[in-house]
Point group: C2
Chain length 510, copies 2
């Protein structure tokens, strides 16, 4: 092995030790940290993150990279070549932002976050508006530092951070027909006289029992408790801290156990991806890291929606759930729960929305943030534009900005270009699922018998094991035979909803 490559990997591991430490500080903050430790925690995170950034952008890395990139023997190994390509990508991106600009962004993010919290609480968009304007300006500068790709727009440079290689134009190509097909589907479901009975979701179930059920299920789907844990937090999340350490959280209400289980399945999907990455061998290297957020989200959506909202899954789980949750569940069949967890209910809040309407929430955010970045939409005009779009897409009136354009944290934290990855995740998931069912065969029977290994094995082999060796679009095309499109997701939704709502379904199926 080349000494330059060895030193390079050593330095990346050191950076990973710091970024993973920051991840643990973040996890602890959400799950364990006492209330009064907030100020000290902010300081710890700032110092650790700064040191990680300093070391990731150390000019010595440039030297070592240069040496490796001119070493034919290294490049002859396709995986090493991929590793070097991605290390170069990360390094160049990190170096493009001047340190003082990074500082300005961090400072703005933390202040804008506080302003957003207060504005949402007080339903006062005007208090947040100057911060939003500032975040748009900073994101425009950030995009300029990165530079738009040839023939692209500034928005692409932001997207590239979350979904490498994706562009606004490409999203438009995929999202437009999706939106056009979702609108009639949702209208049909809401107008159908056949509506799922939601009584099972109102069953009161003690959180302790729900926890027991969720732990049982994630263990069964393949989550390794020797390499991770489940806790409770206000906002559920998953974090792949380090090799051997992937943690997820759930929140529990007194009722709606399928909701908490769905959330846990979602986070477990993220976690199964992290646990399946070759992180032990490649800690800190692209080969051991997840691809963009779209692929990450595809893993959560696949387990949440294609597994956890399937009829076969509930056929398997119901007798077991009955044993854990108690006899009140006895009056419901797996078909009842299956229908109840697939209900379509247009609502105002993205994170509470169902599988069918979810993408409409995402696409409106994509269009609005892209317009703001271009300067076509002034931040001051956001509420009006938001409410109009909700009316058009979901048929709802927005009664307050708190339930409208102030509901999400992302823009306050300076994240523009992040939202589309949620729907990309749903699209990848549906397309992967079709390929998986084709490749593996008998998947439904496996799920019905509680055997999730065929699914996980396929994902591990085809996706998890490769780290960042291939791009998301390469992976999609090579696994599914076609570039990412909206049809598989539509087919998936139609295949579920047409029978549940007894729809005709012919006119909009692609």
């Amino acid at each position: 092995m080349s000494p330059a490559y060895t030193e390079l990997l050593h330095r990346l591991k050191e950076v990973a030790a710091l970024t993973s430490t920051a991840a643990l500080l973040g996890w602890d903050q959400e799950t364990m940290m006492p209330a009064k430790a907030g100020a000290a925690r902010a300081e710890q995170l700032a110092v650790v993150s700064r040191l990680a950034h300093e070391r990731a952008t150390d000019p010595r890395i440039e030297e070592l990279l240069g040496e490796c990139e001119s070493n034919g023997q290294l490049l002859a190994d396709a995986r090493i070549a991929a590793n070097l390509r991605e290390i170069r990508r990360d390094y160049d991106r990190a170096r493009k932002l001047p340190a003082e600009f990074v500082g300005e962004m961090q400072e703005t993010n933390s202040r804008a976050l506080e302003a957003w919290k207060a504005a949402r609480r007080d339903d006062d968009f005007s208090a947040f508006e100057p911060w939003l304007a500032r975040q748009v300006t900073l994101n425009r500068r950030k995009a300029e530092y990165f530079g738009a790709p040839d023939g692209g727009e500034l928005y692409d440079a932001l997207l590239d951070e979350y979904e490498p290689g994706m562009t606004g134009k490409e999203l438009e190509r995929i999202f437009k027909p999706l939106r056009e097909a979702l609108a009639p589907l949702i209208a049909e479901t809401t107008e159908s006289p056949h509506q799922p009975d939601l009584a099972v979701r109102r069953l009161v179930v003690p959180p302790e029992k729900q926890k027991e059920l969720n732990a049982f299920v994630v263990n069964r789907v393949g989550f390794d408790f020797d390499s991770g844990r489940i806790d409770v937090s206000v906002h559920p999340f998953s974090t792949g801290i380090s090799p051997g350490d992937t943690r997820i959280t759930t929140r529990y209400g007194d009722a709606d156990f399928p909701e908490a289980l769905g959330s846990t399945m979602h986070e477990a999907g993220h976690a199964l991806y992290e646990q399946g990455l070759p992180r032990v061998e490649h800690w800190g290297q692209p080969l051991g890291e997840s691809l963009g957020l779209g692929i990450h989200e595809s893993q959560s959506r696949l387990w949440e929606n294609h597994v956890g909202r399937s009829r076969a899954f509930w056929d398997w789980l119901m007798p077991l759930a009955l044993r854990v949750l108690g006899s009140e569940l006895d009056s419901y069949s797996s078909e009842d729960v299956y229908a109840a967890v697939n209900v379509v209910r247009p609502g105002l809040i993205r994170v509470e929305s169902d599988e069918a309407t979810y993408s409409l929430h995402v696409m409106l955010r994509f269009d609005l943030e892209r317009s703001m970045l271009r300067g076509d939409l002034s931040p001051a005009d956001l509420p009006g534009a938001w409410n109009e779009r909700v009316r058009a897409d979901l048929g709802l009136e927005v009664p307050s900005d708190a339930q409208g354009c102030l509901q999400d944290i992302h823009w306050s934290m300076g994240s523009i270009g992040y939202f589309p990855t949620y729907t990309l995740g749903s699209l990848y998931a549906a397309q992967f699922w079709e390929a998986l069912c084709r490749d593996v065969g008998g998947v439904e029977d496996s799920l019905r018998s509680g055997d999730f290994r065929p699914v996980l094995t396929w994902l591990r082999e085809k996706i998890h094991g490769h780290g960042r060796c291939y791009s998301a679009s390469e992976l999609c095309t090579s696994l599914t035979g076609t570039p990412l499109g909206h049809e598989p997701l539509l087919r998936h939704l139609r295949a579920k909803l047409d029978p549940i709502y007894r729809l005709d379904g012919q006119k909009t199926t692609p």
Copy 2:
């Protein structure tokens, strides 16, 4: 404020952000971390600790310190002067160890720790002996780097790390009469026909109920749950991570709830000290830090033994404990529990020993480690010397090294000079308690009514609030009127044990 002083404090805060992050990594490792994350955690700890050390020994600190030390205006403020004095002490000590020697120690510590674990498990001292020899050698070198104080011995240089200013000679002065007085006291108790009934300690109590009781008690004594938390770990500990973040752990058995409560009171004592330090204003500065380990241990011993093993405490707690733990407790009086938690039972294991015999365990370790450091005792001869001393002091035969000289982790981790601080803690606690009772008055009645504020207020005002402003010996003399001695601890034990065991007590009371 002087710009040099401001920058100095800023740099110290940055170091504190890193050391506190390492503390969180350590806490998480003992309480939350998944099993397979060990290797990554070691890497995280190594990197964060190294960066903290690099920044703590940055020559810029020397420059700033120099400027401050020649600034008369700063030195005119006694607290700032004390802060500078202690910053100098820390900096000079840290600079005295060459970086490569620190690396060698860390490497040895982690390997010796693994060797010790295996040796203890296999009861095979010969497997640990070379590591012990190496640790003794390294400690001698470390002491040489630090340098013994004028007229002192190398051991003093090690002690100084844990108990600043303490010397082997001074320990000898205090320990000798203590040991001489404990021997007959313990003999009298074990020979007494009046032995406490230990049935209450065999009561089976579900850990969940014990947790509830312990949380109630520590909250009542003043532990602030908005600045801390209690968890479960294999080895109970307390860690003052950062301002607003002090965490303790307990371990629970199925029986002996007073044991778990005593352990929690002990850790809560440490935590109350940490929570009482002016850490918010002085994070990273000596003014916001605890004095040596002896004073820290005095706080845990005071709450564990002087409060938690007092008759008044159990008079208060019994009716409440009955409510939490259930009616099985009904057949015991507070006097029964009081006697049972003060039982004297010479045993082989330090951490299981009672208040009276505990110091004998400590003093034998002090004598043996000091002899090894001097070269008077070869590590190979440790088991023989150990067993002989246990026979002499505790009247017991050591059946295996696992229950003898291999029982403690300290030497394997390269900690020589640490053990004596346990008994210093007991001695300080007893001496402080006498002063507190004299200053405050009516303490017993307060405890009996469950009012712990007078005790905590005195400790906060006299000890916690001062950080490292005074040395331990200055503090002791100014609060109690006399230098540290063995008499208060002896009086305390006699006052309890003479009535419980119906001893004459006259002949050995000082």
